[in-house]
Amino acid sequence: MLEVIILTVQIALLATAINLPVSLIIANYQDKLPSKFKFILDVFISLPLALPPVVTGYFLLVIFSPNGILGDLFFEIFGFDIVFTWFAAALASALVSFPLMVRPMMLSFSNIDSNLINAARSLGANKFQSFYKIKLNLALPGIWAGIILGFTRSLGEFGATIMVAGNIPGKTQTLPLAIYTSVQIGDDSQVYLLVGLSIGLALMSLSVYNLILYRYKNSNKDI
């Protein structure tokens, strides 16, 4: 049981860590893109939301299988196959949760008045300083929202994970997959326990998110 929880959290954390820098880069540079490219980018970013997760998982399986484009490359660099590993489960979770993570960040960054950045630069701050002292700081609520939403979505990822990582106990079996297995074998007490744990993890993540936002709002009032 503990093994399933640890693996689930570990996969969700890695998925979040993979998505975070990509999301920040897209959110920060979205306004610099020509509107045509931005439109195309928006469509591709949202694609995992519209696609059934098993389709997303199938694509990953094709790409990362030993004969796939990236699978072959991965084997040459790291010396092992990525499919049916917990790393593949993290990749699947990252892809499926990506829209939920990047969208709040994009919204948050696009709401920042560019005059504030210009003002910071006119006061002597260079591009990087004005980014991390002003832009990143003002976008924090959106960044936290993206991180928590993405992390929570990763905790519950099922379809893509089972396609690319399988359902191997102790290796790739996450909470949703363990629930699925328990239902299949008719172990009701195990199902109740796992469902309870799953709800508990989701509630905990969302409570942390609300707590961070609450503290952020209050700290702004108090400064």
């Binding site: 210009n118 003002a119 006119s122 002597g124 701050a125 002003i134 700081n137 003002l138 400064i223």
Partner: protein, 348 residues
């Protein structure tokens, strides 16, 4: 005396911005209606926008020269910027906003400390506040203080008074005049308000559809504008004698009792329409301020005439053409200006 050499060509919708301004003013005014291109000029000077061609030089400090491939980055131009919209950082207190510029100024180029400037602007009571707890006037005062703490080589002010109430406006004009006089920083002041340009700038360039159509003494604005619609406000800095007496040039100004809280000088404003002109000394009237002077200029537009009189200070009065003819006014005519105490406005 400062020097501005601004030559900018830039395609902007719906016209081509093509300006050339050369001035030795301390405060250069850019006057024009909304959409005339004046803010784009300021953005090109600050580095927020890049001209297609041209050269920008303030006090022999070249910040842009297309021919020689010079385009100094915004932070290295060291030009303080204050706009009509609040650009204070919402994630910082007033004190942190003000020290932001100081922290990012190279140590060997720091001229003013945050405390000096906070004291200069009289805003020490605001420093612990979040910017959400500031009025419009206070926000602009803090933005101005923040810009100056970064020891700028020039100040770029884009309609900084357009969204503040009239009492705060008088106070801010007072502070801007002090900045110009005591800190000796060249200022480019953008506005569509004739009163503000007249109160602050030594020289003005009138911008229309992307070109400078006239440059010179700020009074040229009145040849450009429709005087029937213009609401002109005279701004003066007066010496405080006591709670009901001020000194304006050689004139004593009687006012309703005020507590000036130990200030030696204050700013007042008088609307040009609130001044009555007479060609002889009036007697038996309730108004207490009667200033003798002479007409030095007048501008006729439609049904109105703006009369510029010298009473030790130059004051614009707005009267009808009919009154102007009836009083037989002309240049050098002796004139009496009558102002009710209640028509004299003060800063907060």
């Amino acid at each position: 005396m400062h020097s501005f050499k601004i030559k900018i060509t830039k395609k902007i919708k719906p016209f081509l911005l093509n300006v050339f301004i050369e001035s030795n003013a301390n405060v250069l005014g850019l006057y024009g209606v909304s959409g005339s291109g004046k803010t784009t000029i300021l953005n090109c000077i600050s580095g927020f926008d890049e001209p297609d061609d041209g050269k920008i030089e303030i006090d022999n400090h070249i910040v842009f020269d297309h021919a020689n491939n010079i385009n100094t980055s915004i932070e290295k131009r060291r030009l303080g910027y204050v706009s009509q919209f609040s650009t204070l950082f919402p994630n910082m207190s007033v004190a942190k906003n003000i020290s932001f510029g100081f922290d990012h100024t190279p140590k060997n180029e720091r001229i003013y400390s945050p405390n000096e400037i906070i004291s200069f602007f009289g805003i020490s009571h605001l420093t612990d506040r979040t910017i959400y707890k500031l009025s419009g006037g206070e926000r602009q005062l803090v933005a101005l203080a923040r810009a100056i703490v970064s020891s700028p080589k020039g100040l770029l002010l884009d309609e900084p008074l357009s969204s503040v109430d009239s009492k705060s406006k008088i106070g801010l004009i007072h502070k801007l005049k002090s900045v110009n006089r005591e800190l000796n920083i060249p200022i480019v002041y953008v506005s569509h308000s004739a009163s503000e340009i007249m109160a602050l700038s030594d020289q003005v360039s009138i911008v229309s559809n992307g070109t400078v159509i006239n440059s010179g003494n700020p009074s040229i604005i009145f040849n450009h504008d429709d005087l029937n619609s213009i609401e002109f406000e005279n701004f003066f800095e007066c010496e405080v004698i006591d709670s009901s007496n001020l000194r304006l040039a050689r004139q004593n100004v009687l006012i309703a009792n005020q507590d000036f809280d130990g200030q030696s000088h204050i700013m007042i404003s008088i609307n040009s329409s609130d001044i009555i002109l007479s060609n002889h000394h009036p007697i038996g009237i309730s108004a207490q301020n009667i200033f003798m002077g002479h007409v030095i200029d007048y501008i006729v537009s439609g049904n109105n005439v703006l009369v510029l009189s010298d009473v030790g200070e130059k004051i614009w009065s707005k009267i009808t053409v009919d009154s102007f003819r009836r009083l037989k006014l002309s240049k050098s005519t002796e004139v009496y200006l009558i102002i009710k105490s209640s028509n004299i406005n003060f800063q907060n």
